[in-house]
């Protein structure tokens, strides 16, 4: 909210600089995001009055106004079309600093000779003074401006830009801010005079008000003014509205807006002669009812919305927007002035449904006090009589079905200490509360106070609320700095948290860069995977109104985003690329939140080692990816099997399922050539995916120390010839099944050459070792022979000659 310092000073004395005031308000909860000084550099600019206007001897378009400055008179050359004898104007003396109307630069005014006539100063436009961009006319000041006074004294100001928190609708008003300032600086607030002469007929004879939906309208107050003359409002009022960010319209509407800015209570003026049946009914809208609002739009209403109606039809959407039918016009002579209070959720719902944001709606939604209606109504009525020549009816109508007596709240010094950790005396507490307008009464105990919140503070309901009030008035900086005492709570962190971190560090160690991509993805991207189109089975979760189709689905896997990242990087990266992401995927569950397993996905592309003087630019293949997976799982202490797999996005011949504990918990393989094409990659790439949530339990198994044998090992190499379909794993299973075999490593794989076409040769290095004795050659030979026999019997293996 924009608040003018000058306006604020009408209600409270301020002897702080703008910076100090901004700081005080900010620290106490209403942040001043900034302030703008108007007239800070108006030195040498004074109020003048045009005494006469002479023609310029050498130019038809230019005039020679004579300006009275009180102490002297000056003649200047001026081309503005709106010069008028008697007008008060802003006069800049030679030497004043002005904004050049054309360039926008600040320039120092010099004495000039314009087409043969000396000009000793200048009559200024708003643009030249930095007030607005308006430069067609000179600025005409209000008649009350005193000739000779510095312009800065007359209309200089500081406009604060305040960020009012949603709990403080009372601060969406100048008086509300004045109350804050008063409390924070030890001042008193001066409220405006709201009395007026009630010279008209009694109001009850002229209008009746009926609330049929008291749950949605706790209070409706109205006054009636006849004989008004609609006209533009005076300068001072227009200036206030402009400073508050509102556009002046006419004297009556401007007064309603002015009082809304002043008191925080939205008001509405109906044309009395257009209110049919002299009746105002506050009711729910009827099914199918339609209202044409002020903006000319036809609004379909529903029974959960509140309307203001006359005897025949709705004339306004309560608290949100007036209707076109009852709107005031230039010919309006009598008005019904409404100051009401509406149920915040109802206003929110109605405003939201109709898509109508407004200053009034914002205040009602936040729950302003119903007690505000009458003072605001009286203030506005007084101003309208003053500015539009009207006659107020005798009395006001005030229907108040929702009146509630304020509840006293008990607050003790102990409670303040319990929450803030600091001892404030009861005196300090009472002073702080009283400064904010709280009524502090004696309580039973000497360490307690019974506080009744002032009517405008609709946000106060608990002792905790009072504690905040005390703390912010005394100052948050008065709260000490301590550390939580007591026992440190027992720590049972979920194992997945440390586990994820370990996996991330491992992969970074293997040369992978971590990426974080959006969890929301598109059907288009999923469709780049196989099978195409994406089967959406199981159906991924969707958001209701996505920002765009780019971010429509909750990702069912990480791979599409990661491939897109690879594709994007390939546009500027040469050489090897290794990326991984560790994050959640989302799997629909009936009648529950989705499952969110933590997944790991890695991608390798390009050469295994970057091409360099050391040579080597071979592309990565299946075994690079598998090596990473093996290394990772080994480090994590997980034993995995690699089994044939059927992932459609991977090369059917070069992929394996990662099976742990009999369950498929991941996959590793080379990408299918079609996926390589759809992602516009011109190279082989390998992918692995592991469900970390499911693999986690296997990493937690208790490890047991294996004694290190003190006896020497015997190492033997054997080369086997087996059929092509025999796997390394089958051979390993046989060999590692024997006692004394502590390690087996495949060191050569060979096909072709002298071997038959259906055979391959596998060469292994077997380590034999006993933990109890030195192994003899014979003992090793014996086991080796048994191994060979078993391999021969079960796998048809022969020794290579």
């Amino acid at each position: 909210m924009k608040v003018s310092l000058k306006w604020l000073e009408q209600y409270v004395d301020i002897d702080l600089s703008p910076a100090e005031l901004a700081d005080k308000l900010t620290m106490a909860g209403t942040e001043a995001k900034g302030w703008q000084v108007i007239g800070g550099n108006w030195e040498g600019i004074v109020v003048g009055q045009i005494l006469a206007i002479n023609p310029h001897p050498n130019a038809d378009r230019l005039k020679l106004p004579i300006v009275d400055l009180g102490t002297e008179q000056q003649t200047v050359v001026c081309g503005a079309p709106n010069l008028k004898v008697g007008d008060k104007v802003a006069f800049a003396r030679v030497g004043a600093r002005l904004i050049d109307g054309h360039s926008g630069q600040i320039v120092q005014l010099e004495a000039a000779n314009i087409r043969g006539v000396a000009s000793n100063g200048m009559v200024c436009s708003e643009r030249e003074l930095g007030i607005s961009d308006y430069h067609q006319d000179i600025m005409v000041l209000a008649a009350e401006a005193k000739v000779g006074t510095p312009l800065a004294d007359f209309m200089g100001d500081v406009i604060f830009d305040l960020d009012v928190t949603p709990n403080r609708p009372d601060c969406l008003s100048v008086i509300g801010i004045a109350r804050e300032v008063a409390a924070l600086t030890g001042q008193k607030v001066r409220l405006p005079d709201i009395s007026y002469d009630e010279t008209g007929a009694p109001i009850e004879e002229q209008i009746s008000i009926d609330i049929t939906a008291p749950d949605l309208c706790p209070r409706y107050s109205a006054s009636l003014i006849t004989g008004v003359k609609i006209a533009p409002s005076p300068h001072w009022l227009q200036q206030r509205l402009l400073a508050g960010g509102m556009r002046p319209i006419n004297n009556v509407v401007d007064v309603t807006n002015f009082v809304m800015l002043e008191y925080g209570e939205p008001l509405h003026a109906f044309d009395y002669n257009r209110v049919r049946g002299r009746k105002i009914i506050v009711r729910r809208a009827e099914e199918g009812e339609v209202l044409v609002t002020l903006d000319g739009a036809k609004r379909p209403l529903s029974p959960d919305m509140l309307v203001i109606a006359d005897a025949e039809r709705a004339v306004a959407v309560a608290g949100v927007m007036g209707g076109a039918d009852s709107e005031m016009t230039g010919r309006t002579t009598a008005i019904v002035l409404e100051a009401a209070n509406f149920n915040p959720p109802s206003i929110y719902h109605t405003g939201y449904t109709l898509g109508l944001p407004s200053e009034a709606r914002m205040r009602f939604e936040r729950g302003i006090s119903p007690e505000l209606t009458v003072p605001a109504l009286r203030r506005a009525t007084r101003l309208i009589i003053e500015l539009a020549d009207g006659k107020a009816a005798k009395g006001i109508v005030d229907v108040y079905p929702g009146k509630q007596e304020p509840e006293p709240i008990l607050l003790s010094t102990g409670e303040v200490k319990r929450l803030l950790g600091v001892d404030f005396s009861l005196g300090q507490i009472k002073t702080a509360l009283a400064s904010l307008g709280f009524d502090c009464q004696e309580a039973k105990s000497a360490s307690e106070v019974k506080a009744i919140a002032p009517y405008w503070r609709s946000d106060i309901g608990l002792a905790e609320d009072l504690v905040e009030e005390v703390a912010r008035v005394i100052g948050y900086d008065r709260i000490p700095v301590t550390m939580p005492g007591g026992e440190v709570p027992r720590q049972n962190p979920a194992p997945i948290i440390g586990f994820k971190q370990e996996v991330r560090r491992d992969l970074a160690g293997y040369g992978f860069y971590e990426v974080i991509t959006y969890s929301l993805t598109s059907l288009d991207l999923m469709n780049k995977l196989l099978p195409q189109p994406h089967p959406l089975e199981p159906e991924p979760l969707r958001v209701v109104r996505p920002m765009s189709t780019e971010q429509e689905y909750l990702r069912p896997s990480l791979r599409a985003n990661l491939l897109a990242a690879l594709e994007a990087n390939r546009r500027h990266e040469e050489g090897g690329i290794r990326l991984f992401e560790l994050g959640r995927v989302y799997q629909r569950r009936p009648n529950d939140l989705p499952d969110e397993p933590e997944m790991l996905c890695g991608l390798l592309a390009g050469p295994r080692f970057d091409e360099s003087w050391h040579g080597g630019d071979e592309p990565v293949d299946f075994f690079d990816a598998k090596g990473v997976v093996e290394g990772l799982l080994h480090h994590l202490g997980v034993e995995a099997d690699f089994k044939p797999a059927d992932d459609e996005s991977l090369n059917p011949a070069k992929q394996a399922a990662i099976v742990v504990g009999g369950k498929k918990l991941g996959v590793v393989g080379e990408l299918h050539h079609k996926v390589i094409e759809t992602f516009d990659l011109s190279e082989k790439a390998c992918l692995f995916e592991i469900n970390l949530t499911e693999i986690l339990p296997f990493t937690l198994e208790h490890k047991l120390f294996q004694p290190i044998s003190r006896f020497p090992a015997v190492v033997r190499d054997i080369a086997l010839v087996v059929g092509l379909s025999v796997t390394h794993r089958q051979v390993m299973d046989v060999m590692t099944g024997f006692p004394l075999v502590t390690r087996v490593a495949l060191f050569d794989l060979y096909t072709g050459g002298k071997l038959p076409a259906d055979k391959k040769s596998l060469a292994y290095r077997i380590t034999f070792q006993s933990s109890t004795k030195t192994l003899t050659d014979e003992a090793a030979n014996k086991v080796q022979q048994k191994i060979i026999d078993k391999l021969s019997k079960e796998l048809g293996a022969t020794l290579r000659g």
């Binding site: 995001k33 719902h349 709260i479 939580p484 440190v488 992969l507 971010q551 360099s612």
Partner: protein
Amino acid sequence: MEMIKQLKELKSSALKELGAVSQAKDLEAWRVRYLGKKSQLTSILRGLAKLPIEERRQVGALSNQIKTGLEESLEQKARLLKQAKLASAGEEGIDITLPGRHFPTGRLHPLTQTVTEICDIFVSMGFQVVEGPEVEWDYYNFEALNITRHHPARDSMATLWVDAETEKGERNMLLRTHTTAVDTRVMEQMPPPIRVVMPGKVYRYEASDVTHVPMFHQIDGLAVDKNITMADLKGTLYEFARRFFGEDRKVRFRCDYFPFVEPGVEMAIECLVCGGTGCRLCGNSGWIEVLGAGMTHPRVLERSGIDPREYTSFAFGMGIDRLPMLRYGIDDIRLLYGSDLRFLRQF
């Protein structure tokens, strides 16, 4: 004097030959030839006694002078050759300036690094890391935190709702808008005393630009115990700020409003760019807001089954993405989610 002339010739030929030596292994041959036991110089020195006294003195002095000179030259030459060998590939050395055999290097995402750093600080203060679901019920994200259906705070957290209906036909599943959603879950599951931090991803219905993305990261903190006070909150957060932002960084604690705390706090640090004098980054205020906090609202405690008359609690919540942005001067938040290696390599 024949002998003098001979010595001078010896010296110049020795130096000339030394200058031509290009490998360290040839220096020894040169030394044997000119300074060894069988060298001409040695024999001259040995034969000094046979010379007449006058000549003996002159020849002796010159011989010794030449000997010392040659020894120094040898030493110097040896040093030069050694340096040359180190600097460039000789026949037997290597060019150590050649690039090494490349091991691929990887890195953790700057956000991961930041989250880890923050969690480590809080863990050292007795907090435990807890995670909650990203797809959440309206209840945990809003209702339990005093953000009722029509609360203005809902407007400021534009929500992405999930297209899933419950048995009753209600649509109340959403992408959590803040990690504060985990608070109630923790309090429902853990008995006090509680000290937890809850990092994670959060989502908003927001168009991307340099300061906004629809998914970002937050961390919330919560402490519940019999004597937790706002002074403890201040102490905890000041300690965090000291360790994360540095010893000398000024910290400001001011009143602010969040529906789930009372009293509410906003913590700001002195601007990292201007140091408090005001600049574009801090909107001329000299301060940068880093987190919201406060004493957990009694209704929030009650709803989670904790008696607010017995226990007090503080809570805080902080956006994470801004922290590496401030620290490294990253001017576009979208870079964090762009997966661009040219960006990721820098951290």
